[in-house]
Amino acid sequence: MNPEEIHQKLQAKFADEIIAVNTDALDPYIQVAPARFLEIATFLCEDPALSFKSLMSLSGMDYGAETELGVVYSLHSLAKKHKITIRINVDRTDAHIPSAETVWRTADWHEREAYDLFGIHFDGHRDLRRILCPEDWEGWPLRKDYIVQEYYHGMRVPYQEDWQKYETFSRNPERGHHVFEFESKVPGLLNGSQENGDDSAGKSEDRTDG
């Protein structure tokens, strides 16, 4: 079955749900509305002519910091050897999509991953919690407007290259190059919490208390 036939088949049953279709793209896709997605997914999986038994990939998408989030379902049929891509776009602030976990079991963890990294909520998922990040991580890392949290349980999260600030060079003939030998160490670490070390320590305490 080619993508156009698949589209017609869907069109016959879910005419109102289909928003866009592009059969000339690299991966031909059909964009549907999120509201009745569970029915569409069940139809795609169970219809004997379509028989999309295998969900190759479920991928969260962020189309830009001001636009919508999306989910891309890449489907493949082992029996019929055809493929189609289903796209769903959802609002950034209120991202809710019906879960297809009961249709394809592999969607279980992939939906958890999309929730973890994009903050897309899958309604009806029985176990929707973070899977890769820790449970108490803040924010949705793969969104384009994500800003990494500064402290996690008192540990600094963004990598800080302290060594750039160091000054002492000396020649080390053993290694053949000019190699660091440190005299002034990490500022604020050894000499008590001064300067920039001071406010960071305060912040971390606040975080752990809160």
Binding site: W163, R171, H177, H178, V179, F180, E181
Partner: protein
């Protein structure tokens, strides 16, 4: 019952076959090496610790830009017009002082991108792979041939240059403005 004894027989016979193989293996020469004393010979292109031959380095920043983990840090100071820093061995003229060329070997992912883009082939990977050091700072390699005071002097020179240039520009701008104002006045008077 027959199945029971059959199982025992098959277990014993297949173990005997396996044991014969392991027995043969006993008389083969060992393939292991006594590591610190004996070592494998590494191939020509083996990836070890990075080394930069600074005499050939022209400070083009290509390696720093392509590094996926950003572990190469370069600072350069432009040479004065009358200064001649010579040429690299492949003929590329050197136009800047390389006041800093640091490689953080702990961040390095040994991907070999930097050595492939290097135009003068001065940056290459050595066969040295034992990179264990007792403190983190010793894993950061400095290749600049300028000592810290020299590098500092060069940097200051560049700073002063830019400052004088900016001052001169400002002065020129002010003079221009003044002249324009003067001219305007004159035309108004006329």
């Amino acid at each position: 019952m027959g199945n029971y004894f059959n199982n025992i027989f098959r277990a014993i016979s297949t173990i005997a076959v396996g044991m014969a193989e392991t027995w043969k293996a006993m008389f083969r020469p060992p393939i292991t090496l006594q590591y610190p004393n004996e070592r494998w010979q590494l191939p020509v292109n083996a990836r070890g610790i990075l080394f930069n031959n600074v005499d050939d380095c022209i400070g083009c920043f290509k390696c720093a830009r392509i590094c996926p983990v950003q572990c190469i840090y370069i600072d350069t100071v432009k040479a004065l017009p009358d200064e001649d820093l010579g040429k690299a061995s492949m003929g590329n003229p050197i136009r800047q002082h390389l006041v800093r060329f640091d490689i953080d070997m702990f961040k390095c992912c040994y991907c070999d991108f930097c050595t492939t883009v290097c135009p003068t082939e001065c940056l290459y990977m050595t066969e040295e792979y034992e990179n264990g050091v007792f403190s983190r700072e010793n894993g950061i390699y400095h290749f600049s041939k300028y000592s810290p005071p020299e590098a500092m002097a060069l940097r200051r020179r560049e700073q002063e240059e830019t400052m004088t240039k900016a001052l001169a520009k400002e002065a020129a701008l002010a003079a221009k403005k003044k002249a324009a104002a003067q001219k305007g006045k004159e035309t108004a008077e006329a």
